[in-house]
Symmetry: C2
Subunit: 336 residues, 2 copies
């Protein structure tokens, strides 16, 4: 907190974001539910455990290949609840709209949200719409919050990874970030790169039914796979080793990353999850994922190899080893 | 929906806001919980009933006499849950911050939110921070969503008003809207006008304990008392008669309204509630309110006088009668 103004990096999901939360939010809202820093808060009322999560979406552009801000907002909160091990039930939808925004576009966004909610099997039950004068906001921002129910016996948390666990990813990485980036910069690429924006809740429910030994679930959004794994490693106080060769980047995405100077490990995903699973159940969880549309390309990308380092390392394709740090700056502002 | 662009009035809480919700949101997110159009959605899980509510705050200026965007955001959602008859438990906090915003100001806002949460007895348990480039948002927008628990036997809803019910307001009107307006326009008034931003949940719990015959609770925010009563009259299919002489406007607020051309009945409040109560329990509810700091100046301002007109009329101080319609345009943009 030695900087005196908010920088784009404070919202990028990397180290500055972490500092902002640790130095400003946590001391102010001092309570154990927030301090867990999972994708949502988990609380109990009588015999039921609930997850509660919120996210504001400010993606630019609001329409991109593979989705728009509307389905992104629904899928994002559905996924955050799922990463708590919850079955998402109800969403809220609060919009901040710039004066002059086309109603036809708003209708398109709302219709997409409605379809995304139906696909995920959740209901949008409460909402709010604010309009601000032209120039006071860029087109439209959408907040969704959500409530889900956690089944008895399910216990996933960022602190749950232990030595020997396998790390699974549900598919290719960096699709969302590069799709938005290319659309924003109006770059022309030969093959269309599409966002992976997708609800993961149905797959997560099947995974949780297949194994009681899923220790961590996280969706690698802002900051990408590298940042998310670093967060898990730090929270669980373990070290992880990744195999670069097992991490799938679509050739067109890899090409775009190389050309534009992005490391796909740090680029946001919006329809992928990382699961840290007990070694003995890794294959059964992987098999379950392969049967779901959201997990067809799931692979084991590494394992928990140290009991306490909090460090993520990668064995590269050419046989070397490199440290995979958290993202320090903001690669891509307004990616979600 | 014959306009093809979003106008400020679409967010003002009046008729255009209603059309936007009725023509666009309700058909898309077609479900009975949303269709109730109360201040929050009410759903049951096992034997428990919950309220779930969301609001985004875009007030300009962000600091004003009597509060700032932070306590406004906490009190607003605490009050929306309370208006469902719920005891608020947990809040989320999602911020959209403009690049370059001063961290010192952010800290002030967050600290105020923390104090407001403590006063209301709720916990902020989950959050999100997005930063957008300079010019893409005006300083800071805050969304709070919240979850509350409704005690058995409590049944308040916008549809609950019946013939003979008394209409109670918890205090003076138009303080918040005029405080923000005067601060925004940098007007100098002799007496300081302060926002009434305040959490109403403790008073509401006492009111609900005092009488099982509170039929409707609503906080007259955007659109003011006139718009809120019109919404209740329409939802409950009743007609109401107000007594102008019983509606308290602080002299300095009345003066500012007159000077600036605002009708206080349409100006936003952020720490007031309207209660529609069975005639036989009106005095006991009023007495309970008088014992609470939030209800010291509570008065009965009218009653439900017709079974089906959906109309609100007022007996004026000079003995006439006038129709009190919903607000049609936006009196004050970015008031909350």
């Amino acid at each position: 907190m030695n900087k005196d103004r908010i920088l784009l990096d404070h919202g990028g999901g990397g180290k500055l974001s972490q500092h902002l939360v640790a130095d400003l939010m946590l001391p102010a809202f001092d309570n154990p539910l927030l301090a867990a820093l999972d994708d949502g808060a988990v609380f109990s009322i009588d015999q039921n455990r609930f997850a509660f999560s919120t996210d504001s979406y400010v993606v630019d552009p609001i329409f991109f290949p593979g989705g728009n801000i509307g389905d992104l907002a629904v899928n994002g909160t559905v996924n955050d609840l799922s990463m708590c091990g919850a079955k998402p039930l109800y969403l809220s939808c609060a919009m901040i709209v710039e004066e002059g925004f086309e109603i036809e576009e708003l209708k398109k966004i709302v219709d997409t949200m409605s379809q995304a909610a139906e696909t995920a099997g959740v209901q949008v039950v409460t909402g709010d719409t604010k309009v601000v004068p032209k120039g006071a906001a860029d087109k439209i921002f959408i907040n969704t919050s959500g409530i889900g129910l956690i089944a008895p016996g399910v216990n996933v948390s960022g602190t749950g990874a232990v030595l020997g666990d396998k790390i699974i990813i549900s598919g290719s990485i960096a699709d969302h970030g590069m799709a938005v980036m290319i659309e924003r910069e109006k770059l022309a690429f030969e093959s269309a790169i599409k966002s992976d924006s997708m609800a993961l809740n149905h797959m997560v429910q099947k995974m949780l039914a297949a194994s009681p030994n899923i220790h961590v679930l996280r969706d690698p959004t802002r900051g990408g796979v590298a940042t998310t794994l670093n967060e898990i490693a730090a929270a669980s106080k373990v070290g992880m080793t990744l195999l670069e060769a097992s991490i799938f980047v679509r050739p067109e995405v890899a090409g775009a990353c190389e050309l534009l100077g992005f490391d796909p490990l740090y680029v946001a995903n919006e329809g992928k999850l990382l699961a840290v699973v007990a070694d003995k159940d890794a294959e059964v969880v992987l098999g379950t994922m392969h049967q779901c549309p959201a997990g067809r390309e799931a692979t084991i990308i590494g394992e928990v190899t140290e009991a306490d380092s909090g460090r993520v390392v990668m064995q590269t394709k050419i046989g070397g080893t490199r440290i995979v740090d958290m993202m320090t700056g903001e690669q891509l502002p307004r990616i979600c």
